[in-house]
C-alpha cells in the first residue's frame, strides 16, 4: 500500500510543487492585505454589521470584527479561496486515483503488478491525504511565519492556525474521499468530479440557505462546511465534529468505493 502511495506522489511531484507554491502565494497575499483592512476596520465593521447574523455566520465573521485577526482569517481565508484551492486539488487527485487511471489506460499495467486492488486503492487515497495535508501544513507554516510583523495572529492562541488547518484539511479529505469513492465504484472520472463538486456546492449553499431560513435551521449541522466554519477553529481547537466526523465519514465512503472497485470489471 505504501509503495502505491509513494509512487502516486512521485508521479505527481511537479504538479504538487506547483500547487504548494500557488496555495502558499495565496495565503501570503491574503495575509499581506491584513494591515490595510485593520486600518479601515471601522468602515468594514459597519458594513458587516448591516448584514444579517446568519450571513455573518456563513462568512465566518459572526461575533468578531472583520478587522480582528480571527474575523479577517475566517472571512477572507478559511471561508474563501484557501479551502477551495485545496478542494480542487483533493478532488482532482481523488478522482484520478482509480477512475482517471482507468480512463487513461494506465491502471491496467499497474494492476499487472502483483498488488491487490484494495491495496492500490487505499495507497492512492493515502497519497491524496498526504499531499493535501502537506500543502495545508506548508501554507499554514508560511502564514505563521509572516504573521508576527503584520499582527495577524495577535490575540489568538499559538495553535489557532494549526487547529484551523487540521479542521480545513478534514473538510478537504471528506470531499476528496467522495471523489475517490465515486471514481473507484464507477470507473468514470467525470462522474467522480461532478459528484464531489455537487456535494461541495450542496454542503456550502445548504448551510447558507439553512442559516437564512429559520425553518431549515435544523439542517445546518448536517453540512460539513458548518462543521468546519461553525466550530471557531482558530480559538476552540480541533473538535470531534470538525475533524473526527469528516475523517470518519471519509474513511467510510472510501471503504465503500474500494469494496465496489474490488468486485467490478476494470477497464470496460
Amino acid at each position: 500500500m505504501m509503495t502505491a502511495a509513494w509512487t502516486y506522489l512521485v508521479d505527481r511531484r511537479r504538479s504538487l510543487i506547483a500547487w504548494a507554491v500557488g496555495v502558499i502565494a495565496l495565503v501570503l497575499v491574503m495575509a499581506a492585505f491584513y494591515p490595510s483592512i485593520r486600518e479601515t476596520g471601522a468602515d468594514f465593521d459597519a458594513y458587516v454589521d448591516s448584514l444579517p447574523e446568519s450571513v455573518r455566520q456563513t462568512l465566518g465573521i459572526s461575533g468578531s470584527s472583520i478587522a480582528s485577526p480571527e474575523g479577517y482569517l475566517m472571512s477572507q481565508l478559511y471561508s474563501n479561496l484557501y479551502p477551495m484551492l485545496l478542494l480542487i486539488l483533493g478532488i482532482s487527485m481523488g478522482s484520478w486515483a482509480i477512475a482517471g487511471a482507468e480512463g487513461d489506460g494506465t491502471l491496467e499495467m499497474t494492476l499487472a503488478a502483483p498488488i491487490k486492488r484494495a491495496s492500490l486503492a487505499w495507497g492512492r487515497l493515502v497519497a491524496v491525504a498526504v499531499a493535501t495535508l502537506a500543502i495545508t501544513a506548508l501554507s499554514t507554516l508560511a502564514l505563521a511565519l509572516i504573521s508576527p510583523p503584520l499582527d495577524l495572529l495577535a490575540g489568538l492562541p499559538w495553535w489557532g492556525v494549526w487547529s484551523a488547518a487540521i479542521s480545513m484539511w478534514a473538510l478537504v479529505l471528506l470531499y476528496s474521499a467522495a471523489a475517490f469513492a465515486i471514481g473507484a465504484a464507477t470507473g468514470r472520472r467525470t462522474w467522480a468530479i461532478a459528484g464531489a463538486a455537487a456535494l461541495v456546492v450542496i454542503g456550502f449553499l445548504g448551510q447558507l440557505f439553512a442559516s437564512l431560513a429559520e425553518p431549515l435551521e435544523y439542517l445546518r449541522p448536517t453540512s460539513p462546511w458548518y462543521w468546519f466554519l461553525g466550530s471557531s477553529p482558530l480559538t476552540s481547537g480541533p473538535t470531534l465534529v470538525s475533524v473526527g466526523l469528516p475523517v470518519g465519514i471519509a474513511i467510510t465512503i472510501a471503504a465503500a468505493g474500494v469494496w465496489r472497485f474490488d468486485r467490478r470489471d476494470v477497464g470496460v
Binding site: 508521479d11 499495467m109 494492476l111 503488478a113 502483483p114 498488488i115 468486485r263 477497464g267
Partner: protein, 305 residues
C-alpha cells in the same frame, strides 16, 4: 470445414473452460475453452473484435466471466502470489507519461519483491533492446514504449506470459528480437499465450493456434497438424515438357494448371509426391505461395455463426 480440436494438456499453466463474457446485450466470448502447457506457445488468432483481448483480460482478472472460468497456475490471477509469476503485455500499452522508464521499472520491481518473486536485473535487457531508461515514458516512440511493456512482462521471469499483439509497432528486426525472447521464455518452461493477427508470426513461434471469431473458438490445432490441413499453391518451371497425365491420382492434389513446361498445383498436405513425379522432367524453379494459413484463417472466421 475444419474440426475444432481441443488438445488436452496434463498439467496446464493456463486453463480456460467454457468461458463466456457478456457486456450488457453483447456476448463478447461464448463458451471458449483452451489450455496452455508449460513450455508451449499458444497463438490466438482473430480479427479485431473477435474476443482475443477480452479472453486475456478475463485470464488476468480484470473482467469477471459471465460463465466458465479462466485459471492461471492453478488459481485466480487476482491472487498476488500467482500474479507475481505472470507477465502481461496489453495490446494498447499505457503507462504514466511523466514517469521515467527507470521509475516505472522500479515500481514494478518493488512490487515483485514484496510478492516474494524478485524481478531479474532488467538493465541488460533494456540495453539489449535499446531502451533509454532515463527518458520519460511519454516522450518515447511507439516502438520503444512497446519494448518497455515487454521488459515489464518479462522482468519477473514469468511462468505464464500473456502477450496481446507483442510485436505491434516494432520494426522487422526488433520483431525478430522480441519473438526470440518469447521463444526463450517458452524454452525455459513458461506457458505463453499470445494474440496476433499476423499469421506468419503465429506460424513462426506458435506450437498451437486457436482462431477466435465473434467470440467463438472456431479452430484449434497444433501448428504441424494445421499445416497438414493447409493447402499450398506451388508453381514449377520444368526443363522438359510434362505429359498431361503425369500428376494423375496424386493424393491431396486439389487443382492442376499446366502448360508444357510450367505447372501450378494446389496441394493439401505434403508436396513430396508431386515433386517426386516432376523430378524426371527437370525442375528448374519452384515458387510457393506462403498464404495458405491466411486462407484457412479467413475460411474458419467466415464459417463462424
Amino acid at each position: 470445414m475444419f474440426a475444432t480440436r481441443v488438445t488436452s494438456v496434463a498439467d496446464p499453466r493456463i486453463e480456460i473452460t467454457g468461458l463466456t463474457k457478456d457486456f450488457a446485450e453483447v456476448r463478447a466470448l461464448a463458451d471458449v475453452s483452451l489450455t496452455v502447457a508449460p513450455g508451449e506457445i499458444y497463438a490466438l488468432l482473430g480479427a479485431n473484435g473477435a474476443g482475443k483481448s477480452t479472453l486475456m483480460r478475463c485470464l488476468l482478472g480484470y473482467l469477471t466471466p459471465t460463465a466458465g472460468s479462466a485459471i492461471a497456475l492453478g488459481g485466480s490471477s487476482r491472487d498476488t502470489a500467482i500474479r507475481a509469476r505472470m507477465g502481461y503485455l496489453p495490446g494498447d500499452l499505457r503507462l504514466p507519461a511523466r514517469s521515467t522508464v527507470a521509475e516505472i521499472l522500479s515500481f514494478r520491481s518493488r512490487m515483485q519483491r514484496k510478492a516474494a518473486r524478485p524481478a531479474v536485473d532488467t538493465s541488460q535487457l533494456c540495453q539489449h533492446l535499446g531502451i533509454p531508461v532515463d527518458r520519460r515514458f511519454g516522450t518515447l516512440s511507439k516502438g520503444n514504449r512497446q519494448k518497455v511493456g515487454l521488459v515489464l512482462a518479462l522482468m519477473a521471469s514469468p511462468d505464464v506470459l500473456v502477450l496481446d499483439e507483442p510485436t505491434s509497432g516494432l520494426d522487422p528486426l526488433m520483431q525478430d528480437s522480441v519473438l526470440e525472447l518469447v521463444r526463450q521464455r517458452r524454452d525455459s518452461g513458461a506457458a505463453v499465450l499470445l494474440s496476433t493477427h499476423i499469421l506468419s508470426e503465429a506460424a513462426e513461434v506458435a506450437d498451437r493456434v486457436g482462431v477466435l471469431s465473434r467470440g467463438r473458438m472456431v479452430l484449434q490445432a497444433s501448428l504441424p497438424s494445421l499445416l497438414e490441413q493447409a493447402s499450398q499453391s506451388v508453381e514449377f518451371v520444368l526443363d522438359n515438357p510434362l505429359p498431361a497425365d503425369a500428376l494423375a491420382d496424386v493424393e491431396g492434389l486439389a487443382k492442376v494448371e499446366h502448360s508444357p513446361q510450367r505447372v501450378r498445383v494446389v496441394v493439401v498436405g505434403s508436396t513430396a509426391e508431386v515433386m517426386r513425379r516432376l523430378a524426371p522432367f527437370g525442375i528448374r524453379r519452384i515458387t510457393t505461395d506462403a498464404h495458405e494459413l491466411d486462407e484457412m484463417f479467413q475460411q474458419a472466421s467466415g464459417d463462424a455463426p
